[in-house]
């Protein structure tokens, strides 16, 4: 295995584009090293992105959004008060990843590019309307987060391309988001179902919303029908009931040792309504 530590994304793209064997990028390594050890993945070229200037930074963009570097570990997201105020749901999704030790390494970009349908930070990013900046041999492009995963372990990144930053839109006024997952334990487990809700209010009425579900399909999915169920409402009982039923019908999970398909469908509905209530309370400026 060749270990590379380029100092620019352009150089990294050049190395990746020119590599003939199996290539992996190295962010926190909490997926890559586990896969290497298990013998699942034996890269010929490992391209460490952590030496590229700026990859450890979280910066507010000119439009009031956020730019998060691809090597920012979970612990640094949680430590950023401004980001946490704007996007608590995104931060709480990432903070659920692994243990304190894993938080010291694991990144949003790695969680996304690893391509797990159960990745805990991804529903929050999708609900937030986050985009990724992608750098490759042809230059730079951006893509909505929900369009990056292509199935378990797969992404739509072309050869030589990598994510060079995660971009969150401006939070704006009267908005809130939340992420919930179900696991059988209290810590250190893979989501059986995850759900993120992001919404904005006009008075008491929901003006806009985005709902994302994890672990109920081959990729994390955006569920526009679930958003439509609550837009224009005050999240009253009827809206909650509609949201629950729409979330359940959008869930197309498999059965495995963590839960049956029927159970996952049921939980998708439960988490959607609970996450919506938390996001709503946060949008009203209440503690939740």
């Amino acid at each position: 295995m060749r270990y590379h530590s380029p100092t620019s994304f352009t150089d990294a793209a050049g190395i990746a584009a020119g590599a003939s064997g199996l290539t992996r990028f190295l962010a926190g390594g909490t997926d890559v090293l586990v896969q290497m050890r298990a013998g699942m993945v034996q890269p010929d070229d490992l391209i460490d992105l952590k030496k590229i200037p700026g990859v450890g930074d979280i910066t507010r963009t000119d439009d009031g959004g956020w730019r998060i570097g691809v090597a920012v570990p979970g612990i640094a997201l949680g430590a950023n008060a401004g980001l946490k105020t704007d996007w608590p749901g995104v931060v709480e999704g990432m903070e659920l990843v692994g243990s304190t030790q894993i938080q010291g390494r694991a990144t949003l970009a790695g969680n996304l590019c690893n391509g797990s349908p159960a990745a805990d930070s991804v529903p929050g990013l999708v609900a937030a309307g986050a985009t990724v900046e992608i750098t490759g041999p042809e230059g730079t492009r951006t893509l909505p987060v929900e369009e990056l995963p292509a199935g378990p372990g797969k992404t739509h990144l072309a050869k030589g391309e990598m994510v060079s930053a995660i971009l969150l839109p401006p939070r704006g006024q009267h908005g809130g988001d939340a992420y919930l997952r179900f696991i059988p334990r209290t810590e250190m487990d893979i989501a059986v179902v995850g759900c993120a809700v992001n919404l904005t209010l006009d008075g008491d009425t929901i003006k806009s919303a985005r709902v994302a579900l994890g672990a109920v399909a081959p990729t994390v999915i955006l569920v526009p029908e679930a958003a439509e169920a609550i837009i224009g409402t005050t999240l009253d009982d009827a809206a909650i009931a509609k949201l629950e039923s729409v979330a359940k019908s959008a869930a197309k999970p498999i059965s495995d040792k963590r839960g049956t398909s029927e159970f996952r469908v049921e939980i998708a509905g439960v988490l959607a309504k609970r996450a919506a209530r938390i996001a709503y309370a946060r949008a009203k400026g209440e503690q939740a």
């Binding site: 090293l33 570990p73 692994g98 243990s99 304190t100 030790q101």
Partner: protein, 160 residues
């Protein structure tokens, strides 16, 4: 397979070693530097027995490549006691009999030390969450948590 020359600082001392890029920091510490205090329980980030600090951040050394330590500083369990004085956590673990086989103990001590740096007065719940990535198959955790809480109190100079 060409090896890479790594220059790093371990427990304050400059250290150099040659690493195959596939080797983990844990393997390098144990097999090249001779620091066998960090243990390998799982090798996959689940047990925390290999916990070290890398540039002040608590990590699993089994999930860090040895070559990634180049230019960084690493703190291991071997750096916890100063000369002949045990760290308060180490003393409290003995007092409370917070270990049986002891395999998990170095990792738990390294993790607990970091906890008390960022949060000198943790609640029991905070302590349990912080240590959720440190598995112990012997003690049932209760004595571990009590030892950490007691060490924290002593370090705050309260009588627990």
């Amino acid at each position: 397979m060409s090896k890479i020359h790594v220059t790093t600082t371990i427990n304050g001392d400059p250290v150099e070693f040659l690493a195959d890029p596939r080797e983990t920091l844990l393997d390098c510490l144990r097999d090249k530097v001779g620091l066998t205090g960090s243990k390998e329980g799982c090798g996959t980030g689940d047990c925390g027995a290999c916990s070290v600090e890398l540039d002040g951040t608590l990590v699993c050394s089994c999930l860090v490549l040895g070559v990634e330590a180049d230019g960084k500083s690493v703190s291991t369990i071997e750096g916890m006691a100063s000369d002949n004085d045990l760290h308060p956590l180490q003393r409290k673990f003995i007092e409370h009999a917070a270990l049986q086989c002891g395999f998990c103990t170095p990792g738990i001590l390294v993790a607990a030390k970091k906890l008390l740096e960022v949060n000198p007065d943790p609640t029991e719940e905070e302590t349990r969450y912080w240590l959720a990535g440190n598995l112990c198959r012997c003690t049932g955790y209760d004595k571990i948590v009590r030892a950490v809480m007691d060490a924290a109190a002593e370090m705050r100079q309260e009588v627990a």
